[in-house]
């Protein structure tokens, strides 16, 4: 349980940083995708998600802590994290330079191969289409 809560904290920190990189407006666009991803893909429970993003846990960590944390994750979980972070970035159907930079920082910290990064991008695109199927001009 505690390990899963820590994973939840790390995931929501990763996702929040991506939302911050998107800018204030973009972070408004999909409030529930991060939690849905946590439960559907990372297999976390509602309780673990709520506890994981409690201020007492998440607010004491910096983004540097986040990079150290994701670097220590198993490879399979790392790829899920990167896929999810890219999904958050792609929800508005575009990727801003700041979002590319945060995704790159994550990928570098994970020491993930270019091919795996590409697969994560594909996975993110698929998820984006499933969560947000309406094509918008933005």
């Amino acid at each position: 349980m505690e390990q899963d809560i820590q994973r939840a904290t790390l995931w929501f920190l990763t996702a929040r940083a991506m939302a911050a990189a998107s800018g204030a407006q973009a972070s408004d666009t999909q409030p529930s995708a991060a939690g849905l991803f946590a439960q559907a893909v990372l297999g976390l429970s509602e309780d673990e998600c709520i506890e994981g993003k409690s201020p007492a846990r998440i607010n004491r960590l910096s983004l540097n802590d986040c990079l150290v944390g994701v670097a220590a994750l198993p490879a399979e979980t790392q790829e899920k994290f990167l896929t999810g972070a890219l999904m958050i970035a792609l929800l508005d159907r575009r990727m801003d330079p700041a979002e590319v930079r945060w995704a790159s920082l994550l990928a570098n910290a994970m020491r993930i191969s270019t091919q795996r990064v590409e697969e994560c991008c594909l996975g993110a695109r698929i998820l984006t289409d499933m969560l947000h199927p309406v094509t918008r001009s933005s």
Binding site: F12, A15, R16, A17, A19, A20, A21, A24, Q25, S27, D28, T29, Q30, P31, S32, A33, A34, G35, L36, Q39, A40, E46, D47, C49, I50, K53, N59, L63, N64, L67, L86, L91, R93, R94, M95, A98, V100, R101, W102, S104, L105, A107, N108, I112, T114, V117, E118, E119, C121, L122, G123, R125, I126, L127, D129, M130, P133, V134, T135, R136
Partner: protein, 270 residues
């Protein structure tokens, strides 16, 4: 049926059909809670359709839940109003499909619809001058022995359901509220700038922006048939479908338990 003094009279000037549905819902709330919920769901559907037409143009999804999601993502529907609309949608769906509901359920959704109507008027008229419209609980036609204890039990159940739905919602959200989002996003943006500076001096970015742009530019069907990305895309879609469906199924099961609890309550002897 004779119409009572309505909580929805103020809608008359903006949309007579909505006002009428609100009045009908009020009239049914004690005698036929399921009909009340059905009318309220229609109200929400009409509100959502109008908001979508005005703001999203032709890009309106066919299904109400998706329309609400799209309105919320577009920043048109605030979280509180979205929660109220979803609650009416879910309970209205249940009523349409034969589910029974205690009067308390219908009363709560009626109150939600009243609050929504005020917000809706303000949004469409771009006016914050809409006077406060207090909600008046429609008078119960007559009292029966045991009704009070049943109402109390129904209220407790509705509180539990509301708590459970709030918890589900809380688990899904990235930020707890707007002020938290704003404060945290500022903090992270500052940290990101610092990390960027350090990263730029040491390594090249690993994410190829051009590949990302290509993947985003392709239609999904093109992506699934793409010679380089096709197989991985199809695998990813199958896996994602299974994962998201599992969560959807769990949420559906949760709603089903609410329906069952309400049905038990309505058939229980007090």
């Amino acid at each position: 049926m004779e119409e009572l003094s309505s909580n929805f009279g103020f809608l008359e000037a903006l949309d007579r059909r909505l006002s009428k549905l609100g009045k009908q819902a009020e009239n049914y709330v004690h005698s036929d809670p399921e009909a009340c919920l059905f009318k309220l769901r229609l109200m929400v559907e009409m509100m959502a359709a109008t908001l979508a037409r005005v703001t999203l143009g032709n890009a309106m999804p066919a299904e109400l839940g998706m329309t609400l999601g799209e309105l919320e993502r577009s920043g048109i529907l605030p979280r509180h109003e979205a929660d109220n609309m979803h609650a009416i949608r879910r309970d209205g769906n249940s009523a349409v499909h034969g589910g029974t509901a205690p009067i308390s359920t219908a009363l709560r959704r009626l109150r939600d619809a009243h609050s929504l109507s005020r917000w809706y008027c303000q949004s469409l008229t771009h006016s914050s001058a809409q006077p406060e419209q207090p909600f008046h609980v429609p008078t119960r036609p007559h009292s029966e022995i045991g009704v009070e204890s049943q109402v109390a039990a129904a209220e407790r159940l509705e509180d539990q359901i509301a708590d459970r739905r709030n918890r589900t919602r809380e688990a899904l959200l990235l930020f707890a509220n707007d002020s938290e989002r704003s404060a945290i996003a500022d903090k992270y943006r500052t940290e990101l700038d610092g990390l960027d500076s350090a990263a730029l001096s040491t390594s090249e970015p690993s994410i190829d922006a051009e590949t990302m742009a290509l993947i985003m530019a392709l239609e999904l069907e093109q992506l699934l048939e793409h010679p380089a990305f096709g197989r991985a895309s199809r695998d990813a879609r199958r896996e994602a479908e299974a994962q998201l469906n599992a969560v959807k199924l769990r949420l559906d099961e949760q709603e089903a338990t609410f329906r069952e609890a309400r049905e038990r309550l309505t058939t229980e002897k007090f």
